[in-house]
Amino acid sequence: MLSRVAESIYWLNRYIERAENVARLVDVNLHLLLDLPEMFEGQWDALVHVSGDYEDFKERHGEANQSSVIEFLTFDRENPSSILSSVMAARENARSTRESITSETGEAINEVYLSITAPGAKDQAIQNPHEFFRGVRRASHLVEGANSETSSRNEGWHFARMGRSIERADKTTRILDIKYFLLLPDISHVGTAVDDIHWGAVLRSAGAFEMYRKAYGKVTANSIVRFLLLDAQFPRSVRHCLTRMDKSLHMVTGTPERSYSNSAERRLGQFLSELEYADERDIMRQGLHEYLDMLQTRINEVGDALHETFFALKPVTEAAAG
């Protein structure tokens, strides 16, 4: 498959997944707003910290409150990670690969673009944010579903899956990181009902609440960290995402699993092994926020290696014509 097309498919899927996850991040606050209305002040700041460029936000929007943060994360075209920017970038990539992605996938992407740019979309998001963000999540699922049910398991599909997986892994670490920025009234609230409500909101936003309950029952910080980072079965856990990515990567290259033939496979394999043998108690001891930072850096490194390996073919050196 053309390097350019592979890269576009990879990014288009990253962007759609990104849009979904920004919706999920906002959702954390929307849940909290319902559950803890009296102590909510200041919580919008937390969202900006984990999801975007804080300096940029302060400069252009000033105070963080519901409408400024939703504007920034949703419709702000100058914020490259806003939902609108992500959807537009996804669509641009879809347009330049429309001969390679299936029509159903292309249509699903075009539909979300049209709905989000329709006149009145902004008013709807402000008046009825739950409905709006639910719409964004569902649109992402529709794109994923359309692709999953209409595309052959060819290279394009694997690059799509890698894009989805790496973006989701990154965003799950950020959803979890929100907890770090959420303010507890004081240290004595750790482990109290307020703390539990925070953790519950994090789980719900990651779409993990029900699956977590089945697996662990009681809400505890350690189990949640274990579930969202290290669980082998939950599809939004970092480990699960990276496992999927690793499988697709090996399908593309034909290298046997658990071995490597390029830097992307080596980096990812190494990283994944560490996660497979990690323990949530060590993570908590080390400091969750610091650990999440480290994960994000490692995820970026995998992305860079992928780029080097597949998308940046240098001209006329590795000539293999004939």
Binding site: L2, S103, L313
Partner: protein, 494 residues
């Protein structure tokens, strides 16, 4: 929805005759449209436009910043071509393309046509789209113009004429196919059982055409479509055709010449490409051979082409036959190579480089259509009766300045087709662009084509860049004939 108040206003109407009765071939359609409940047609029309938007079937308009993407306006009332008429057009187009191909091949070899005095030498020498770089080239099978879109118009005398030839990168065929599919979706009950011939197998035919002229070294040739990129106005079509053929859509930057072959950059390294359906003008194809500043092309590709290691579709150099001055010689060209009368006549054309013609043109600017010899897309032309005095004078200056660059034709009263405007039918002028494929085995004329419609009242300019729209074109099968098996839903109502 009734046609009762519809007026042909003295124009030739494709659907109604001079006294306002439906033409025989249009009767069933008129009947079906009239039986629709009030407002239904409008609703269906809106549904069709929404479908086009959702599918992203849009074109880009040059020069705007934002909002450059529009759907190509689509009118829901189809244009019908009766089978006898089509049969004649099909023969006429095949004849024309065969002769033009011989002409191009001759021009780049012995120029017998010039030596025998059929086409003046100075005409070829002054033709900006003649490519000296192509002299002596021998494309596989001797075929240069694999894909042609020929613009036809019907005048008020009822005859169909060739208005211009497009042998470079004719666009629009994707709309033919998409219009049909939207039409079938929104209007199944009107469509079924009328014996409309299929256009959906175009891409398969196109693929077979390209395969038939691939270099002999490739047993299973790798074919690609080369696009200038996502900002090109016809990008949708490029990706559409690549997808329909199941081949890669590449940009210049995806290709490189490696060890004497054209290769594409893939996730697994360089991969050889054997035939390229290029939707890029000659000028941009190869900065080493043509325009040096082209960022869109592939350096060195012409060398590979000369060696016969890649096929370019269409071949470089075919633009010479698009020249509107050369166009006026096509009937003679047909006579010369095939010893036949042209089946479809040309529109009478005045050549401004000939003194007598030029004087006539300058005296009649207010009546004539003046066109530059080498533009397409309706750019740079003047419709005399619709233009201001200042424009007439402007064109007078241009003609005197560069007479070779201009031709003039009588302002034809183009035929009309009922078109849904608001809640009523109004006549709008149309042309027709059929598509012709020329492969090693045969010439194929797609039964259908792009009917472009000038949506502005009274306008004669049908180009999409100038406020034109399109209609589905229904070429009918002969009644109960051998075509029945090929016809759309020929078996009965769905």
């Amino acid at each position: 929805m009734r046609f009762d108040s519809y007026q042909t206003e003295g124009f030739y109407d494709e659907m109604f005759d001079a006294v306002g009765s439906p033409r025989v071939e249009a009767e069933p359609l008129v009947e079906r449209i009239q039986s629709l409940p009030e407002g239904e047609l409008r609703r269906r029309h809106q549904a069709a436009e929404r479908a086009l938007m959702r599918l992203g079937i849009t074109f880009n308009v040059y020069g705007d910043g934002e909002g450059t993407e529009r759907i190509f306006p689509f009118d829901i009332v189809p244009r019908i071509v009766p089978w006898e008429e089509w049969e004649r057009l099909e023969r006429g187009l095949a004849q024309r393309i065969r002769a033009l191909n011989m002409f191009i091949d001759d021009l780049y070899h012995d120029q017998k046509v010039v030596k025998d005095g059929v086409v003046p030498a100075e005409l070829i020498e002054s033709c900006t789209s003649f490519r000296p770089q192509c002299v002596g080239l021998n494309p596989p099978g001797g075929i240069w113009c694999h894909i042609t879109g020929t613009d036809l118009v019907r005048s008020d005398d009822g005859n169909i004429y060739v208005l211009e030839d497009n042998l470079r990168c004719p666009s629009g065929v994707s709309y033919v196919i998409e219009n049909r599919s939207v039409m079938k979706e929104t209007f199944p009950m009107v469509f079924s059982g009328l014996g409309v011939r299929r256009v959906e197998d175009y891409a398969e035919r196109l693929l077979a055409t390209i395969e038939s002229v691939a270099p002999p070294h490739a047993s299973r040739p790798t074919i690609v479509v080369l696009t200038p990129g996502v900002y090109n106005s016809a990008y949708f079509e490029h990706s559409f055709l690549a997808k329909e053929m199941g081949v890669e859509l590449v940009e210049g930057r995806d290709l490189a010449v490696v060890d004497g072959y054209v290769c594409m950059r893939t996730t697994k390294g360089f991969e050889r490409v054997d035939a390229i359906y290029r939707r890029l003008d000659d000028d941009f194809l190869d900065p080493l051979a043509f325009r040096k500043d082209s960022m869109l092309g592939v350096p060195g590709i012409m060398d590979v082409y000369r060696q016969g290691r890649v096929t370019l579709v269409n071949a470089p150099g075919t633009g010479v036959a698009d020249d509107k001055v050369i166009y006026s010689y096509v009937p003679k060209i047909i006579q010369y190579y095939l010893d036949q009368e042209a089946i479809i006549p040309n529109v009478p054309t005045y050549l401004c480089w000939i003194e007598e013609d030029r004087n006539y043109v300058l005296d009649h600017l207010a009546e004539l259509v003046v066109k530059p010899a080498n533009e397409s897309g309706g750019y740079g032309m003047m419709v005399g009766p619709h233009a201001t005095k200042e424009t007439h004078e402007e064109f007078r200056r241009r003609i005197l300045d560069k007479p070779r660059n201009y031709i003039a034709q009588p302002t034809l009263s183009l035929s009309r087709v009922p078109t849904l405007i608001g809640d009523a039918f109004e006549g709008r002028h149309v042309d027709l662009r059929p598509y012709i494929l020329y492969g090693a085995d045969e010439i194929f004329v797609l039964p259908g084509g792009l009917t472009r419609v000038a949506l502005r009242k009274g306008s004669l300019v049908v180009n999409s860049s100038q406020g034109g729209g399109s209609k589905d074109t229904w070429v009918l099968s002969p009644p109960n004939g051998q075509w029945q098996s090929q016809s759309q839903n020929g078996g009965g109502d769905a």
